[in-house]
Symmetry: C2
Subunit: 375 residues, 2 copies
């Protein structure tokens, strides 16, 4: 029996994790759930899985049946005392930082889909990333290939990008992009924040930084290629010219299940690749004119230090403003660029300083964004 | 220092093996060479590498400088007493059977490109295949992915076929195919026998049987897909829907070098995949009407026993007759089919019986071929 905890259980990755737990209830016991509040969704999950612990960001600590509800970020330290085989961090955005930090520092085994936490904790925690299993499909692809072997003979890794909903949109139409268009990802059904990040291609920039921290590779060894079919998720190129790649139909259950059962694999949806139906796998270079945030992110990564954090936080604020209809799609880049270029960056030594730093970047981004127009 | 022996050193795979030994002379010492006769090519190789032993099929045993020349198949047993880190079997055709058998039986570490031996020795030696490293690019691809791990979670493997020179030739033009056309492989530069086998797609059928014996997979778990670019060489599909594949520009030095340095990889030609130049990877099902020998081979494999040997030997004889201009391209299939359907198959218990069996199939094939016309 694998005892797991799922933080962010009502989101897209969280719900898919619970689907796997449901399918393999003889092998997986869900002992902990976490979400922002005690919503109907979460209550239903509690009824179904009867976990020992539930964490909610908002609300009150209480006991329901045999389940202990722990409320409030200030009480997150309880995670240190929960012993599970695996914590799955399916939280979206910078909210994932604190639980990720606590779990990493207390030596828990974690699998995470939260790239913001991996990036922002990069400088503080990268030494602890060795024991972490990535759930992001691209990083799971690389992880499945490398499988914790040494990287001496790796020449580079290649992350594939679908190109997002605007791959073929003419540059002059970016001005008029609507929220609905930005959320309409052609290949993956995901949360709103990551869907918008995929539309700007910044998501791929984040993934490059994430790969840098997760696998300890220099940026020169991490490439991006646009691959609209999203069948190949990641590739590892070796010094002999051989490339090993990971392919599947887009399905987050594969990396989630891989993280849970690693190093075993389990039968899932029986959604097997049919190459004679696929017919074509195509590749093209990223269009840096239409999607400047990809290279901008890689530059932030190369500068290093707290720059990737500034980028991540500025983006989260800007994307939220876009999703609220307060700024235009193209303003996302304008705001992020202005924040990264003007925020007075300093180093942090611990998670509290990091969270304070993030608050400052958030405030600064909001102030910058005020000068940007309504849609 | 890795001490190697190269049997078939003047052929295509042999020469490429020696190129690697030349490049890595600080790491590889060539202690043994082997070829059909003491040709100028072989003499030059002896001068360059100064091996302790040279085997020639034809000619006389003698000593040249510090090199012992051993001649004649009846003296092949000397291999038992040669201690090397790796024997590379780069011999083409059924001639590779006896040395492969001797090396396997004496527990030597071997890497082999000789699919005829793997197939014909399958029933006698498959238990000893666990320690063998395949050099055939498709099987090296699978080996690189599986890397000797258990196959419990493997759903199937997929071998890719370039489709050969006649992929797009209309079926009515097969009647007129010339030797030169059949040798003109679009992706790989190889020996004549294997080039013709690629033109009939029987080569891929052999590779399915080879994979069956090498990896211990049932035929139901071995698929073939036509992939004209020959970039993806092999794929392993797991029960979760994930596929791991091996890609490179067609270059036999990659699998050869992988076999020599396994599990390490070494820098070779710096011929790295550029996906934005490749642009497209395409897939289609094999055309069984134009290339009936693929499925015919798989059927022989499924019947098992000595049928794959009959197929292999009949093909070798027929292809040689085609290369001598004595039969037409389409006669290759006709002859093989007639031999497989009519030869009185019986089981063998050791290599001598196997070699006798092969001789009988050869004679039978020659007699069948007599009824086929000149080109």
């Amino acid at each position: 029996m694998i005892n797991i905890g799922v933080l962010g259980s009502t989101g897209s990755v969280g719900r898919q994790t619970l689907e796997i737990a449901r399918k393999y209830k003889d092998k997986i016991k869900v002992k902990l759930l976490g979400a922002s509040k005690l919503s109907d969704n979460l209550i239903n999950q509690i009824k179904e899985f009867n976990p020992d612990y539930v964490y909610v960001e908002l609300g009150e600590s209480q006991i329901i049946g045999s389940t202990k509800i722990i409320a409030g970020e200030e009480n997150l330290d309880f995670l240190k005392d929960v012993d599970l085989d695996l914590f799955i961090i399916a939280i979206a955005g910078v909210k994932g930082i604190k639980p990720t930090y606590i779990l990493l520092e207390s030596g828990k085994k974690i699998a995470t889909a939260n790239k913001e936490a991996i990036i922002c904790l990069g400088e503080l925690e990268k030494e602890n990333y060795k024991n972490l299993i990535p759930i992001d499909s691209e990083h799971s692809a690389i992880f499945q290939i490398i499988d914790r072997r040494p990287l001496d003979d790796v020449r580079r890794i290649v992350l594939t990008a679908s190109g997002g909903p605007f791959l073929n949109l003419p540059i002059e139409d970016f001005e008029k992009v609507t929220i609905q268009q930005a959320l309409n990802h052609p290949r993956w059904s995901m949360g709103k924040k990551i869907s918008v990040d995929s539309a700007t291609l910044l998501n791929k920039g984040f993934e490059v930084i994430e790969a840098h921290y997760l696998f300890g590779l220099p940026y020169e060894k991490i490439d991006v290629v646009v691959h609209p079919e999203s069948i190949i998720h990641g590739m590892v190129e070796y010094i002999d010219g051989s490339v090993i790649s990971n392919l599947s139909y887009p399905d987050m259950k594969i990396p989630i299940s891989y993280a849970i059962f690693y190093p075993e694999r389990k039968q899932l949806n029986n959604n097997f690749l049919d190459f004679t139906k696929i017919k074509n796998l195509t590749f093209l270079p990223p269009d840096n004119e239409k999607f400047p945030l990809l290279n901008f992110a890689i530059e932030c990564g190369k500068i290093g230090g707290m720059y990737p954090t500034v980028l991540t936080v500025a983006d989260e604020v800007a994307v939220n403003l876009f999703l609220q209809g307060k700024i235009k799609f193209l303003d996302i880049y304008g705001i992020i660029k202005e924040v990264v270029e003007n925020f007075k960056v300093y180093n942090v030594k611990n998670v509290q300083q990091l969270l304070d730093f993030i608050k400052e970047v958030e405030d600064f981004t909001v102030s910058v964004a005020k000068r940007y127009g309504n849609t």
